[in-house]
């Protein structure tokens, strides 16, 4: 009832509630929907919640994922071969909010969303209980000028990325447009690298911390074990594990291995 499009005031979604109640050591997991098989998206989400993950990023596959390294490229390719589409993913997600309570983001490239229809995509995602979206190749100008109302009307958070090369002015602008968290890349790289903690990277984290942004920050790219997770949490509110978890999904009996995987990160 308070979702009338005319009231653009933003109500708290699950992401905002999470960040309001927990400030440190937040652990998020990324995985590609449709990998290793169709109809596993909600099963994996449920297992991750039980194992103690704080929130999740569910990737929808794209044929040309330029920001991704070999692991996520491979999972995307396999998911497409398996028949994953946005239509199919939304069908799987009808179960989501019956079984999973933690915040869920969808992550993927812009073209599949554009074909689905941006407004229709936002509506459908929100209807199924999705809390936010990460679209690496949707730039700030296009988001703000053309699409932000669809996100806001549907109470979906759009997550922006920041790299060590992003200027302070631009980070301020990103902070203004964000309403849940900001995704800090550990370095300018594609996914699946390893976190190299050089002096300049530490300076970058310190620079961001000193900016006292209104949004929490989460570090991603190159987080693959307890050491990198712990280090990331010194500078941000939490961290995201992606490629390392996608590799686990390639193993036999991966469902049983999820609790130990999450434990090993903390």
């Amino acid at each position: 009832m308070n979702n009338e499009p005319s009231t653009i005031s933003y109500t708290m979604n699950r992401l905002n509630q999470l960040f309001a109640s927990k400030k440190d050591n937040l652990l998020s997991i990324y995985y590609t929907a449709g990998y290793p098989a169709l109809n596993t998206t909600v099963d994996i989400a449920e297992a991750l919640e039980k194992a103690g993950a704080d929130f999740l990023e569910v990737g929808f596959p794209y044929s040309d994922p330029v920001a991704d390294g070999p692991t996520i490229q491979h999972s995307s390719e396999q998911a497409l071969i398996n028949g994953m589409t946005l239509d199919h993913l939304f069908e799987e997600l009808t179960e989501l909010r019956k079984r999973v309570t933690i915040p869920i983001l969808l992550m993927g490239y812009f073209n599949p969303i554009a074909q689905y229809g941006i407004e229709r995509f936002c509506k459908k995602a929100a209807e199924l209980g999705v809390d936010g979206v990460i679209v690496p190749d949707l730039p700030m100008y296009e988001y703000e000028a053309l699409y932000s109302t669809h996100f806001i009307n549907n109470n979906l958070s759009n997550i922006f990325l920041v790299t060590p090369q992003t200027s302070s002015d631009r980070i301020r602008k990103i902070d203004e447009l964000s309403n849940s968290f900001i995704y800090l890349l550990s370095s300018s790289s594609i996914t699946g690298g390893s976190l190299q903690l050089t002096n300049s990277i530490e300076d970058y984290y310190k620079r961001i911390k000193a900016m006292e942004l209104k949004n929490p920050t989460i570090i991603g790219f190159g987080i693959s074990d307890n050491a990198t997770f712990t280090k990331a949490c010194e500078y941000a509110n939490g961290a995201i594990v992606g490629s390392k978890f996608v590799k686990l999904l390639a193993e036999d009996g991966y469902m049983e291995k999820i609790p130990a995987f999450i434990q090993s990160m903390r």
Partner: protein, 393 residues
Amino acid sequence: MKYGVNEHGYYGDFGGAYIPEMLYPNVEELRQQYLNIINDPDFKAEFDDLLKNYVGRPSPLYHAKRYSEKYGANIFFKREDLNHTGSHKINNAIGQILLAKRLGKKRIIAETGAGQHGVATATVCALMGIECVVYMGEIDMARQAPNVSRMKMLGATVRPASSGSKTLKDATNEALRDWIANPVDTHYIIGSVVGPYPYPDMVARFQSIISEETKKQLVEHTGKELPEYVLACVGGGSNAMGMFYHFLDNEQVKLVAVEAAGKGVDSGHSAATTFLGHEGVLHGSRTILMQTPDGQVVEPYSISAGLDYPGIGPQHAYLYKINRAQYVSVTDDEAMKAGLLCSQMEGIIPAIESSHALAQLEKMKFNLTDNVVICLSGRGDKDLDTFIKYFNY
């Protein structure tokens, strides 16, 4: 310019810069600087000097007499095939290497399909003494092996793109990934009028020398600077954009862009983007691309590696949508026949890409007084194997 780009990088609904944040600083640096650099008199002088003394410009505008007789019009070939390295690609490579130097870049990356842009880039890097890495699809490396050797001989590193369909679009993905990982010291020389803004505009400007010269040369040949028709082949569309550029505002000049139909537009093996594509985003710009209803990029097919690309540049998408240029398609068979005909009637072995533009002549009706310019974008040396196999020579 009526058909030029606006301040946000758009041509109508097409263009923009749909790139991940990791690429933003690089692309933004280019956006802020490219016009200042290109318009700087020192840059212009160096660019013009290299085009003249290194590339061999102006390229001739050749009045093809036997073709003119056959097709019943005055047919002119704009001889980009006579450029150093054998195609129009060198014009853009020279422009971008000079720009990269002024931006202080120490390393160059490029993607290539047929290998022509890779060779052009390797060439200008050798000329300037700058490190060069060229990404090329594994499948293209096999079918354009001589160009792989040429790039290596010129000192470039050729890295196979083994992801996805292992052709031009995947080489482009790999080059973009390299650029993400090397955001400070590297410049990416994109070879066509594709990619995020400002690339489509920048590459079009560097290629616009083709139509600039053509106008002057037409006056010498015909006493008029405007022809009735201008034809060029389109993969991403850089030779076509260079050939159209200075005629865009002359609305009476009919512009014809020839796409590769492969084995036929409806055969499932085609690269005829405007016939088979829909609006979407590819390699950083909003354009027309071949894709599934779910937005996955479809692998195109053409016998010509240089036209084997699932999209077209955003300015082409715009010219198509507003009907400023006509987009047509030519099959493998039609193009191969046209390549052979040109060899035997004019003594010029054209690239298979350019043969597509030549093949379109068969489908057009001219008045005897019409002046028709065709961009002969490249020479056929690199395609000899394909020609030989096709005709059993």
